[in-house]
Amino acid sequence: MFPRIILNRIFKNVTIIPRYNSTAAKPLEHSDNNEVILKAKSSPLDHPDYFQVHSLFNVKDLFDARVHFGHKEGSLNELMAPYLYGSRQGHLIFDLDVTAEHLRRALNFTAHIAYRGGIICFFNRNALNAHIVEKTALECGEYAHTRFWKGGIFTNANHQFGAITRLPDLCIFLNTQNNILNQHTAVRDCAKMLIPSIGIVDTNCNPNLITYPVPGNDDTPVAVELYCKLFKGAIQRGKEARLKFLQEAEEQGTFA
């Protein structure tokens, strides 16, 4: 792991790695350049990274938060094999370059959904990390469900809540398993109800139904803290942009 990180850091000053695959932090002088592009384009969707989520983290942050630790070799889900770097003494290790790419996609998607006023719901069934997840949801004005999943909250929502209910527009799973054996039912229900999902998938998880899977450690509190911080940052950037957009729209409305 280390040699690759160091390598990237060294080469950062010498050659230009495409931003898309780069693992290093975004250089600062790039931002004013982006503003020029921003004005020229009409929709945020045309911009590759409108909310600058690339600058939220770098691979070293992931490494420090122990995102690269997977479970033991025996519990590997075959579908997770492409995301692995290797195995150290029987413990699987994620390739953090791959993880970073997936995570940036996920963060970008999150920011765009927040910008469009979507409802974002955090999920987590690990009691150890439940509180920080709920706190994150509260702090960024979104929603959380870290408790026992009563079947039918999505699939039978109108009956469950006794009224027509708007379902979340994005579900973020900070772990996708109920316990080591079963997948969270909400993962399946999201796919059923056409709700996109982002999920941190460990080596023993199935990434099939998750729209934006992020391979990484889903148990360690430090790692979960980092994910929470990143998603919070992305949502806040999206919301700031939304506020700005709404204000502009209002001004235009009053002038017209």
Binding site: P18, Y20, N33, N34, H131, H145, R166, P168
Partner: protein, 391 residues
Amino acid sequence: MPVSKYFSSSLHSVYNKNARQYSSSHKNTTNAHDINDQFTDWETLNKKKSISKPMKAYLERAREHDDFMKKQQIEYNIGKRHLTNMMGEDPETFTQRDVDRAIEYLFPSGIYDPAARPLMKPPEEVFPARKAAEFDEAGRPHHFLFYTGKPNFFQLLFDAAEHLENLHKFEDKVLRNKAIPEQKSKLDLSSGVWVSKDQLEIMLVETISDLEYDNFKLVMERLVSTPYSYRCIDFIEKFRKPLASQKFALEIPKPSFDEEGRAYITTYECLRKKARGDVTIHSPGTGKIIINGKDITYFEDIQSREQVIFPLIFTGLQNRVDVECNIEGGGPSGQAGAIRWGIAWGLRSFVDKSMLESMQVAGLLTRDHRRRERKKPGQPGARKKPTWKRR
């Protein structure tokens, strides 16, 4: 500057390449261009403000509920007018209390459970209050735990966890500063219990399962057991209620003394059935009992006499105090019961604490509020039915 320029251009080429790749990968599913042409831009769509579907449905339901309640209110008022007519009273001054009294008079019921007896109450009391809209006009729920289905309950658990975390942080800080914990850090909660499940449900306006109630108690116990839990006493006290009356221990009157220097105490208002009287106890004494100027033979039957001397025998004071009582009304058993309670109530001043507790357990200090049940029409007694004959 040239470097950054090159940077951005390389970046765009990569993105465009990627975008092309993705669109080609989806090509087999649809010819996306046809649909895309019909799309209105999100930005333009969002400038038109509209009420969301959930909100529309909620407003509809709220209107229906209001109509229903209005109808119920009208029916209640008509019923009240009829009642005043029947009772021959002034409709202007006829209150809800009068309504209850009238219903009890007109529809006498021997059913034990008060909730099952006939009643007439204003509709606001009969139909439970409904939750207000839980989401705003865009359909976004107000509560961050809305999707759990029990937001208030889980908010409570969330708050408890938050307090717990803060306490742990504080404890760490104290340890780092190498301080000795304060004495008042131990929280004394012996004078109360956690609110019951029903009360908690009323507080939260949500139904909770037994398991969830157990979880609630577990979390709160854990919060209490941490050192420095006094720092969130306000939060804890919200979910505790004082233990039922241990008051009698505090309110025992001190006996007065007469000219001869004997201690005496008088209990007024000794009631049982229709009997009513007062009891005076003198100590020290020789076991004399005077009832309306006569001795214990005032009562002719053995049971009543036993009733009167039972508290004296129970406390072992039968030869050490004198009892004097005036009693009127009711029959022998009612009078004996009233005296028994009066003696026991007066003896509290002459016994120690452990005896007081055993008297409480024996039921000597409990008032008997039962009254005669009225006779019902169509049957010979309060409960008795006519003899059943085949033909």
